[in-house]
């Protein structure tokens, strides 16, 4: 990417970030209730005045926004309302869980969907294709709040192959095997919804790619089907999957809530629900911003991946 493009991208990101924070703060500040009241609970007006001053509640919108933004960029993220503690502490415990859940679940989805899609595309509308299409559609119509409890019931209670909800989970750096063991079922719960999406999209693109002249030429070179599929057909077929995957992963940061709830994991989604029920506005605001930033980052990564996968995009961007 040329310098100009990088500069333009950075400017775009800055503008998006400003808008996201502004909109988030504007709407959450218009919600009924005020943070000071949540913090003080039954305590008296002295407390309300003190907390109100700390939160800049008596200031007009813009100074209040700038104050909040300052907290955001200082990395402390301010204090949550109930109980009063630095939001940063809260996030430090919950974001690795969500991050892992998102990555692990998408890895599972890709590992399952890619071979299914490729094999379906090689023999479209034959028995295997129809069966895998039916199966993935079935999973698409199963919401996570059904899949999660079912998986939990069958694989922790009926067949105790996996640890139940609320099991102690070492961080992935300390004991990766145990960590992945505990995370497998929640990740699978979330993965189920993504498998069908990836399988359908990749299958369709793959069928189109296999009609291309360069595939005929690869066949004429005498290469095996396996080589043609992986070396020639897979990469040019991944654009739609990547685009949708980016959106999918962004939405999963909140979408992981169900997986987290069912298996008792205290990730970001769990924290967000908790904060909403407790009317903990500062936490809600921060998590909303984090989700937005995650979207922006995902899009940036996807844009970068396009250039890795397709040299023509690389050139279009430099010229």
């Amino acid at each position: 990417m040329s310098k100009l493009v990088v500069v333009r991208r950075v400017l775009e990101i800055i503008v998006t970030l400003v808008l996201v924070t502004l909109v988030t703060f504007f709407f959450t500040s218009k919600l009924p209730g005020n943070e000071a009241a949540v913090i003080c609970g039954p305590a008296g007006p002295a407390c309300l005045a003190k907390e109100g001053a700390l939160l800049y509640l008596n200031h007009p919108f813009f100074p209040r926004y700038l104050h909040w933004l300052g907290n955001l960029f200082s990395g402390t993220f301010g204090l949550s309302a109930a109980p009063t503690e630095p939001i940063a502490t809260l996030l430090k415990q919950s974001y690795p869980i969500t991050l892992e859940l998102v990555i692990f679940s998408q890895l599972i989805a890709i590992v399952v969907a890619v071979p299914l899609a490729m094999y379906s595309a090689v023999r479209p509308n034959k028995v295997f294709d129809r069966m895998s299409t039916a199966a993935t559609f079935a999973t698409l119509s199963l919401p996570a709040f059904i899949v999660g409890p079912l998986l939990r019931y069958f694989f922790t209670v009926k067949l105790p192959w996996f640890p139940g909800a609320g099991s102690t989970m070492p961080s992935i750096g300390v004991n990766p095997a145990q960590n992945l063991y505990v995370m497998f079922l929640p990740s699978l719960t979330i993965a189920v919804g993504s498998i069908a999406v990836y399988q359908r999209l990749l299958r369709a693109d793959m069928i189109a790619t296999l009609e291309e002249d360069f595939i005929v030429m690869a066949r004429a070179k005498g290469l095996t089907t396996w080589r043609i599929l992986f070396r020639h057909a897979l990469r040019p077929s991944t654009f739609t999957v990547m685009t949708v995957g980016g959106v999918q992963i962004g939405s999963l940061i909140v979408g992981a809530i169900i997986g987290e709830q069912v298996f008792g994991l205290t990730g970001l989604g769990y924290q967000l629900v908790l904060a909403v029920t407790k009317a903990d506005l500062p936490t809600v605001q921060i998590i909303t911003v984090i989700v937005a930033v995650a979207y922006i980052l995902m899009n940036l990564i996807i844009d970068f991946l396009y250039t890795v996968i397709d040299p023509r995009v690389r050139r279009a961007r430099t010229t």
């Binding site: 002249d213 360069f214 030429m217 004429a220 290469l223 040019p236 996968i309 040299p311 023509r312």
Partner: protein, 360 residues
Amino acid sequence: MSRKRHVRDIDDLEDRPLLEVENLKTYFQTGHGIVKSVDGVSFDLERGRTLAIVGESGSGKTVLSRSVMGLLPPQNVIREGRVRFGDVDLTNASPQELRGLWGAQISMVFQDPVTSLNPVVRAGRQITESLRYHLAMSRQDAKETAISLFRSVGIPEPENRMQWYPHQFSGGMCQRIVIAAAIACGPKLLLADEPTTGLDVTVSAQILDLLNRLQQERYMSVIIVTHDLGVVTGRSDDVIVMYAGQVVERAPTTTLFRDARMPYTEALLKSAPRLSNPSHTRLHTIPGNPPNPANLPKGCRFAPRCPYVQPKCREEEPPLRQAEAPRHWYACWYPVGTPEGVRALEENQAAGVPAAMGVV
């Protein structure tokens, strides 16, 4: 790590041509019935010689070239007849055997070089992959071979260009890369399917000269499929003229240009522009369209458009007959340049048959 070669070695049979095609048929099952794209084609080709297959769009020439090779879609295809290549019967070869031949012993150069190259794979690797797979070359050997191939097909700065992607090359350069990929493993037979159709005239002449030179250097047999008789002149030893899936005339190139017998060949020769004509001469056209290959007329398939047509033509299909010149065959009841042919044309002109009126 020792690598395995994937080549089916072939032996030339003594006193027999490299390639023999016998009554080859290729039908496609479609929603509109059976399409007879290739309908009983026979020919043979000696080592080191060039055969041109000429015909208009839809005459089945591209399908013929793919059918010879066995490179057809896996489904809804009926292929009958025999294709012998060296000591291998291509019509009965297993998929594994075919893969050992494709790219190694038989190669194909495609019509559209730009879409025939994988857009996301570097040019060099599109050459080295065959070398590594078929000939089990090491990475370094394959790279050096590919560079020398690039050089021999006339790509400047081959070391650099190896790293380029197809979209960075012009159409003519892409065709040179496709040719380099096709000849990489030293095939005995090269099929070129309209190799110059997408290119402009000067580039297309260069590509044809390149193919000629490579053929002589490597002693390959070449089949050039084309709709352009100009491509054929001076570059091919023999010509096959196809119409509606059949061979209607087959002759050594000079014989065909001097002594065409089949009215369709005559019409094709007339419709090519000539430098000897005064400028702004109207080009001759063949009235009508080729028949629908799913619904072929009875008798001679060219009859509906033929200036020489007689009642017999609409009833009986003419077989391939030998002409006086050696190795010259044609399928016509009233051949051009014979007394029957002249009479048939005069009768038609007198009767005002539209197809005959344009012929002078």
